[in-house]
């Protein structure tokens, strides 16, 4: 389905995750963050950029992996993106959430 955000039309799935990373811009990221009640700071951006890099390299994302990345520890990751940090951060970063086979 399509959605208009930050003056741009983006494709999202049933859960609001972007399906085409090519449509992602920083402005789109900021608006997606606001929808999740997060105001992005430079620390948030460091994490989001790391997540996007990992996805480009096809490296699987896990909370523990992010904790070991040297970018943030797990406690700060939860503070930046409360409740379900990996789900929220991947949504804002415009990349698919970590998934299983089914």
């Amino acid at each position: 389905m399509e959605k208009t955000i930050a003056g741009k039309t983006i494709n999202v799935n049933e859960e609001g995750f972007m399906t085409d990373f090519g449509q992602w811009t920083k402005e789109v990221g900021e608006e997606l963050a606001k929808e999740n009640e997060i105001e992005l700071t430079p620390r948030h951006w460091e994490v989001l950029t790391y997540i996007q890099d990992q996805v480009k390299k096809e490296v699987g994302l896990t909370i523990r992996g992010i904790g070991k990345s040297g970018i943030v520890d797990i406690k700060e990751f939860y503070a930046l993106f409360p409740k379900a940090p990996l789900k929220t951060a991947t949504k804002i970063a415009g990349v698919p959430k970590p998934a299983s086979c089914i």
Partner: protein, 396 residues
């Protein structure tokens, strides 16, 4: 791979050696059934020697170190092997020590795994006399060898306790680090009723920090807690420690692998198959089977100096037990999530994709025979090609 290659490579030109430290070969998908008494432990294990093809040498020794720059494998007994081509098939294993307290005082008392032979056998003993309470089925983190097995475990547990007339005494909770038991929209739509029907609770987005042995609960980094009387967990899965020692693995000891050719990213004469790879597909056995056909071609291409075929599409095909003699079947690859349709023959089946029925269950049970008698001997399964077949499937 040895079976495939021994048929293709001349004996006077190529020597094939398998290095395996174990004396037994396990049918690992069978571990799921051991706790419920559906399979006996003996049905999942056979001597490895039985499966070594003629003309292939078996070296039963642990590997201490691999030196890719010297094409050398150093064995634990101090001797070494030199190779022209190495295929890594060291798999993955549980690493409960990665989570604080998991391998603590309650390990194999009220905290169990079913991804190892020992774990499954111990859990079978526990379940025989367990009087009920809170059963928590838990996944530590992804990737794991078979992402659907914990779900199957929860379904089979529901059926098992019903049969023992004690389902009312057992509260089943499924705890996952992912956003839900089903993360693919089509599967979620087709299958989420199963959990509801079977009265299985779910806790999502749970990133475990520790197992609290004293208070019998698991705690996540966000502070959420889940109490248990019996915890059945899938610990972190890691590749073999030899890759850490040799500096060849990623942070979970999986080998960086080219996703379509199965050549390692480390060196051109090293190839990787099955759950030893870091590929973004399932780590299940069916994947290794499909990869074997493509990898055989690519080894022959490599020997002939031809370009490698970029043919591996991430194809996976799995039966999912749902309890009470029924099962589901799923078929997917890198690009397509599990879809509805017929399998393996378009329009005919007889198996149905993404639909629960009895014939799929018999397919799953029959698979143990197929594994011992066909797969290990390198005999292809009729009608099931290595690449995902799009005919007879509904892609919407």
């Amino acid at each position: 791979m040895a079976s495939h290659l021994r048929k293709k490579l001349r004996k006077n030109e190529w020597k094939i050696t398998i290095v395996d430290e174990r004396k037994e070969h396990y049918y690992q998908p069978g571990f799921l059934f051991i706790p419920f008494g559906i399979y006996s432990p003996q049905q999942t294990v056979k001597p490895i020697k039985k499966f070594i093809p003629k003309g292939v040498e078996l070296v039963q020794e642990s590997i201490e170190l691999v030196k890719p720059e010297d094409n050398k494998v150093i064995l634990a007994n101090g001797s070494h092997l030199l190779y022209d081509i190495m295929i890594i098939a060291t798999g993955s294993d549980i690493a409960p020590e990665e989570v604080e307290g998991m391998k603590g005082a309650e390990w194999q008392k009220s905290v169990f795994d079913f991804y190892s032979y020992e774990g499954s056998v111990a859990l079978a003993e526990k379940l025989k006399n367990w009087e009920g309470g809170k059963l928590v089925v838990h996944i530590t983190e992804i990737p794991i060898k078979c992402p659907v097995a914990p779900l199957e475990f929860a379904f089979l547990a529901d059926a098992y306790f019903k049969k023992k007339n004690m389902r009312h005494k057992v509260e089943i909770t499924y705890v996952t680090p992912l956003s839900g038991p089903f993360t693919k929209p089509k599967c979620n739509l087709a299958l989420s009723h199963l959990l509801k029907d079977k009265n299985i609770n779910t806790v999502n987005d749970f990133a475990i920090m520790e197992v609290d042995n004293d208070n019998k609960k698991i705690v996540d980094y966000g502070g959420e807690e889940v109490s248990f009387d019996l915890l059945v967990t899938v610990p972190t899965n890691k590749g073999n420690a030899v890759w850490e020692r040799s500096g060849m693995g990623d942070d979970l000891n999986f080998i960086p692998t080219q996703k379509h050719t199965l050549q390692s990213k480390l060196k051109e004469n090293i190839f990787v198959i099955g759950d030893a790879t870091n590929l973004p597909t399932s780590k299940a056995g069916s994947v290794a089977h499909f990869q074997a056909e493509i990898l055989t071609e690519n080894i022959l291409n490599f020997i002939a100096g031809k370009p490698l075929a970029e043919d591996f599409d991430g194809h996976s095909n799995c039966f999912i037990e749902t309890g009470n003699g029924k099962a589901l079947l799923i078929d997917f690859n890198y690009d397509h999530e599990p879809v509805r349709g017929t399998f393996p023959i378009a329009g005919i089946g007889p198996l149905k994709l993404l639909k629960e029925n009895r014939i799929n269950h018999f397919g799953k049970l029959a698979f143990r025979w197929v594994y011992w008698n066909m797969l290990l001997k390198g005999i292809p399964i009729p009608f099931v090609p290595a690449k995902m077949n799009k005919a007879g499937k509904i892609f919407d």
